[in-house]
């Protein structure tokens, strides 16, 4: 097969007030027609800039300053703007990360797709041709109910449907190459699975090449043929996907795998890549990864390694790749793994009934909805419905579910950051839902929270020292030493310099900020911490650092965690027990091994089946689950009254009683319960 897209020595430059930087620096790769080529890397490595460079749609601050982009024999960089316009849509299409922002909010889906059809067709075409083409495109992308969709506006569609419309638009001109820039990052995992399957099917049917930009190795394993790993604006390794997943050659790629919590055992530390991605505004002399590499030698500082071919289909940018390969394998193997073993005092296997620290009983949290003449309450949005949970001292409870399932609301209701509508939250013997104002400080001292977004969780106008002292001062916690010593001690505990206390949040990287947020929660010596998606805004390598830190602190301080996440691998690694939530209710809960090892509820099964595994030919979870019942419809909004099971409309095993009766909790074994009529 010939090369469809050839990129050679591509260089893009961004001019900022503080200087110039090169987000894409002498990049070369090629894509053959009909293949899926994945460009993988962490945030800021330049992968999206590469995609936009190919489209010649870079933002105004960025320019292409050198190189060659050849699409099917046409050098795109030599074209005039109007000639390039003829390429866009017709020969190369693109879909973006957030379909919610990428569609025009005030134009119907049908019109937007029709516009793409018109723009791609050479001369005047009949109206009914356009309409037929739009309908056939919508059918191609398996849009549910296409006749209705064409008249709808983007805000009326779910995220998955919007992304389907986006794909339909990109396919309107039958492009040779489709660029998918993080096409599933903003979507839930079950929807992601559908979209990935759709892309794969479309590619086969149309013999189209796909350039897939992603940060998720699992997505790569699922759909890609070829992979190129980017780091700091350069490609450091290219390979076929099969070979790459068998044995990555570059130390960075290897470390990426090891820092994934997917296969790591519950009692192991994750491998971490120390430090952060280098500042791109500097002049590099040696290898860009050298500061963070375990295998670096003198030469790595002096000389930039070239992209060396290791065999006819692989290249790696490392002086010593042969040495690194010998001593590391990606498959988890305790003997070879450099992860230190943690001493876990309690584990699920020998569960001595520890005293419950937190008990949630029939908790309900409704958000009122207002309407009518005088804005009275006309209904409720049931965010949390009849949830009961127990968390023992020193344990971690994992709360899993897709966006909008109420897991964050539940976490905040436990902490009384939101007032529950009904039910009890018993913490250490006191009912938090009915707590008196005078007892509030004492509860606040014992239960704390860590948030998702490390950029929104620290006030940018306050110094780190003041951020950390806030809780101590507000709750009047007395310490032996003075406040400043305590702050330094806290910083030391999470591996930050004492000098950090006089600096401001913006001076720290995402991972460091999350450490500070953890420190802030710890400043008042709590016994319970609700971790609300603490790593979902972070890159994989940084995620590993934070997970390790949380584990280490737990064992040191006997902390109890309620760990909220949509990422099942992370929860699996962190949690002793798991509760799966769907539309405000818990559908299944129990010991992690049992729930994830042999999921009972159809929803849990769907969820697990949808998780892309970073290991081809090997499922993440021991029991392969049939992917049949990946329902088309996305999650419904938890509104209105539903007499029966919430999952009824999506469940392939649904029976008559499911639509009528709310299933009650049934025991699967000692450590495992499920709310389903099937059992």
């Amino acid at each position: 097969m010939s090369n469809l897209l050839k990129v050679e020595d591509l260089q893009a430059r961004i001019d900022t007030p503080s200087g110039r930087l090169f987000p894409v620096d002498r990049l070369s790769f090629s894509i053959r027609s009909g293949e899926t080529f994945a460009l993988v890397g962490e945030s800021g490595c330049g992968k999206s800039m590469t995609a936009l460079s190919i489209m010649r749609l870079l933002p105004e601050v960025a320019h292409i300053v050198g190189g060659l982009i050849e699409l099917d024999g046409v050098n795109l960089l030599s074209l005039s703007e109007s000639e390039m316009r003829a390429q866009r849509g017709r020969r190369v299409g693109i879909i973006f990360q957030d379909p919610g922002l990428s569609l025009n909010p005030v134009m119907t889906i049908g019109k937007q797709i029709a516009e793409a059809v018109l723009s791609a067709s050479t001369s005047g075409v009949a109206n009914n041709y356009v309409h037929d083409k739009v309908m056939s495109l919508l059918q191609d992308v398996q849009m549910p109910n296409p006749e209705q969709c064409v008249h709808e506006y983007p805000f009326q569609l779910s995220g998955g449907m919007k992304q389907r419309a986006m794909i339909a638009m990109a396919l309107a001109g039958d492009p040779l190459l489709l660029i998918a820039d993080e096409p599933t990052t903003a979507l839930d995992v079950t929807v992601q699975k559908q979209i990935l399957q759709l892309l794969k099917r479309l590619q086969r049917a149309r013999d189209m090449a796909i350039l897939l930009i992603t940060h998720d190795l699992g997505v790569v394993a699922e759909v890609a043929d070829h992979i190129a790993v980017m780091y700091a604006g350069q490609i450091i390794e290219t390979s076929t996907v099969a070979d790459f997943f068998k044995q990555p050659h570059h130390p960075y790629s290897q470390k990426l795998f090891k820092s994934l919590p997917d296969r790591a055992r519950h009692d192991q530390q994750l491998a971490v890549i120390p430090g952060a991605v280098p500042d791109l505004s500097q002049d590099f002399i040696g290898c860009r990864f050298v500061e963070r590499c375990d295998h670096h030698q003198e030469r790595c500082f002096q000389q930039l390694p070239l992209l060396l071919a290791t065999n006819e289909s692989r290249q790696v940018r490392c002086h010593f790749w042969k040495d690194t390969v010998v001593c590391s394998s990606i498959m988890p193997c305790p003997a070879l793994d450099d992860g230190k073993h943690l001493v876990i005092t309690q584990s699920t296997e020998n569960l001595v009934p520890a005293p419950p620290l937190l008990q949630v009983k029939q908790l309900k949290l409704y958000y009122p909805r207002y309407g009518g003449l005088f804005r009275r309450e006309i209904g409720v949005m049931k965010a949390v419905e009849d949830v009961s949970l127990t968390v023992a001292q020193g344990q971690t409870l994992g709360l899993v579910g897709e966006s909008g399932c109420g897991k964050s609301s539940l976490g905040k209701a436990i902490l009384r950051l939101l007032k529950p509508t009904a039910g009890q939250v018993v913490f250490n013997g006191m009912d938090v839902a009915q707590i008196a104002a005078s007892d509030m400080p004492s509860f606040r001292q014992q239960a704390q929270i860590i948030f998702q977004d490390p950029f929104a969780s620290l006030n940018p106008r306050i110094r780190i020292g003041e951020i950390l002292a806030e809780g101590i001062e507000s709750l009047k916690i007395i310490h032996s030493g003075d406040l400043q010593d305590r702050v330094e001690q806290l910083l030391h505990m999470v591996g930050l310099e004492p000098s950090a206390k006089v600096r401001y949040p913006h001076e720290f990287s995402g991972g460091q900020r999350q450490r500070i947020a953890i420190t802030r929660a710890l400043s008042v010596n709590p016994s319970l911490i609700v971790c609300d998606e603490p790593t979902s805004a972070l890159d994989v390598s940084v995620q590993a650092q934070i997970l390790n830190l949380l584990r280490q602190l737990q064992s040191e301080k006997q902390l109890t965690y309620v760990f909220i996440s949509h990422n099942i691998s992370v929860v699996r690694y962190m949690a002793d027990e798991i509760a799966v939530m769907y539309l405000g209710r818990i559908v299944e809960r129990g010991a992690t091994a049992s729930v994830l090892g042999s999921p009972k509820h159809p929803y849990t099964q769907t969820l697990l089946a949808a998780v892309p595994a970073a290991y081809p030919a090997q499922q993440l979870f021991d029991k392969a689950v049939d992917t049949l019942h990946l329902a088309h419809s996305d999650m419904r909004l938890p509104a209105g009254k539903s007499a029966g099971c919430a999952f009824y409309s999506r469940c392939t095993f649904a029976r008559a009683e499911c639509s009528q009766l709310q299933p009650v909790e049934r025991k699967v074994n000692v450590h495992h319960t499920v709310n389903c009529h099937l059992y």
């Binding site: 601050v61 960025a62 950051l417 509030m440 606040r444 239960a447 977004d453 507000s474």
Partner: protein, 471 residues
């Protein structure tokens, strides 16, 4: 040397407290890098800095006009008797042109009065002639022949003086800079005219040069002529224009500042506390903003006028009455303009209260008041700063309109509005008395344009939405 007694007006105190507040703010800002960084962008904006330079001249003039004093007339029984006339430092500087009153209108640089008068000639006959001015151009023996060469000569020497002053100042600054930066003068000099990072400095130098080239010849000529002419009662228009600057400045700054605390407090409270507090505050500002501002101002000023007229005993002098009226006008203008800022702050506080660091503070049982002061307020200050600079120009323009309508400043107080208002009446005169109007409009344009361009620079630096997106 005559004795004098400082006699500050209320607005003087306010002007000086604003000046000191700005100095304290600047000192505070330079300690904190995150507060300093947007200002650094302002300083690097060449257009903005050129405007700031012009604006600074206006500020200096109005500060000089805000030091009021009474001079001692005589001593009686060991007690000093002070003049009833309240003067400012600016009056002291402008003493010559203030005193040199003509009889009535005269055109700029004129040597003769604008209107004919009947005078007796040597023979004792009545004659209709344009009489010579009492002060303007009296040094000319033959006004017809000498007039143009004299002005030309004096302008030329003024320009020469300006060049000398500029060069001297430039060299002093250059040598100080080279000492500080430890770079040789030659290299520094070259970099000023070529380096893009020095463009703001370059713009300031050029602005100063232009101002000197226009200003110095005018100052030089002003001691021989009425450079901008005289008005109906023969007062120098240049003096009036310079005195008007303070009025415009005070209104532009004070009107926003006096109601700033209300706007900030209510805006933040409404956005953060929500519930009935929000409902009440929203109702208040919707009600206030529903009244067309000119009418609200007119109604308030009318009522204030009635109050002042009925309570003359409260105001000892005409100056203090005019001053109180000026302050009241500021408050009234502020009352009509705070609603916009309040609405902006409410929206921003509403956005901020959902942020995670506010929830983290809740998790520490931090009090609402402390959250508003510690977490919300510092994060909305950029909006306050933008509102301050952006409202300024609108308020200066509004003053002129209000004075025309008759609800502006006291008629005895010099302002652009009163200048335009009195000059407008002479529009129909043939030939037209154009200089008062033109001077008032030019000065107002300069002030407002400088303020607008500077406000743009501030907005560009502070508004997060205007910052270039870097993916």
């Amino acid at each position: 040397m005559t004795h004098y007694r400082l006699d500050f007006l209320w607005s003087d105190y306010l002007v000086w407290s604003i000046v000191s507040a700005v100095i304290i703010y600047a000192w505070y800002v330079q300690k904190y890098p995150h507060l300093l960084s947007p200002w650094k962008l302002v300083v690097c904006n060449s257009r903005g800095m050129a405007a700031a330079t012009v604006f600074l001249v206006f500020i200096v003039i109005s500060c000089a006009d805000s030091i009021h004093y009474r001079s001692e007339l005589s001593v009686q029984d060991g007690k000093s008797v002070y003049s009833t006339e309240l003067n400012s430092a600016l009056d002291l500087i402008l003493e010559p042109i203030k005193k040199n009153r003509e009889k009535t209108y005269s055109a700029p640089f004129a040597t003769h009065l604008f209107s004919k008068e009947t005078v007796k000639n040597e023979l004792g006959h009545d004659q209709r002639i344009f009489p010579r001015l009492r002060f303007g151009g009296t040094h000319l023996a033959d006004p017809v022949a000498d007039w143009l060469p004299d002005i030309f000569k004096k302008s030329l020497s003024g320009i020469l003086m300006a060049c000398v002053i500029w060069l001297f100042g430039f060299l002093v600054v250059l040598s100080v800079m080279s000492r500080l930066k430890k770079t040789p003068i030659k290299k520094l000099y070259a970099s000023i005219w070529s380096d893009s990072s020095m463009s703001a400095f370059r713009a300031v130098c050029i602005t100063i040069a232009i101002m000197l080239l226009i200003g110095v010849p005018l100052v030089y000529l002003a001691s021989y002529y009425h450079v901008f002419g005289t008005d109906k009662v023969g007062q120098d228009v240049c003096y009036q224009a310079l005195k008007s600057i303070r009025t415009g400045m005070v209104i532009g700054l004070l009107a926003t500042i006096v109601t700033l605390p209300i706007a900030v407090l209510l805006g933040v409270m409404a956005g953060y506390l929500r519930g009935w507090v929000d409902d009440c505050i929203q109702y208040i500002y919707t009600t206030l903003s529903s009244i067309p501002s000119v009418l609200l101002i007119a109604a308030s000023v009318l009522m204030m006028q009635v109050y002042i007229e009925n309570h003359t005993e409260l105001f000892p002098s005409a100056e203090s009455r005019a001053d109180i009226r000026l302050l009241a006008l500021c408050v009234i203008l502020g009352m009509t303009s705070w609603t916009g800022l309040c609405r902006l702050l409410r929206g921003e506080s509403m956005r901020l209260r959902e942020l995670e660091y506010i929830q983290a503070a809740h998790a520490f049982a931090v009090s609402d008041w402390r959250i508003m002061m510690q977490h919300i307020l510092p994060n909305v200050m950029h909006i306050v700063i933008m509102a301050l600079v952006m409202d300024f120009s609108g308020l200066v323009l509004a003053e002129a309109v209000l004075s025309y309508v008759g609800v502006g400043v006291d008629t005895s107080m010099m302002s652009f509005g009163t200048m335009i208002n009195s000059a407008r009446l002479e529009m129909a005169r043939e030939p037209m008395v154009w200089w008062s109007l033109s001077v008032a409009f030019t000065f107002m344009l300069l002030l407002v344009l400088a303020a607008n361009i500077f406000a743009d620079a501030v907005r560009e630096a502070f508004d997060p939405r205007l910052k270039a997106k870097v993916p």
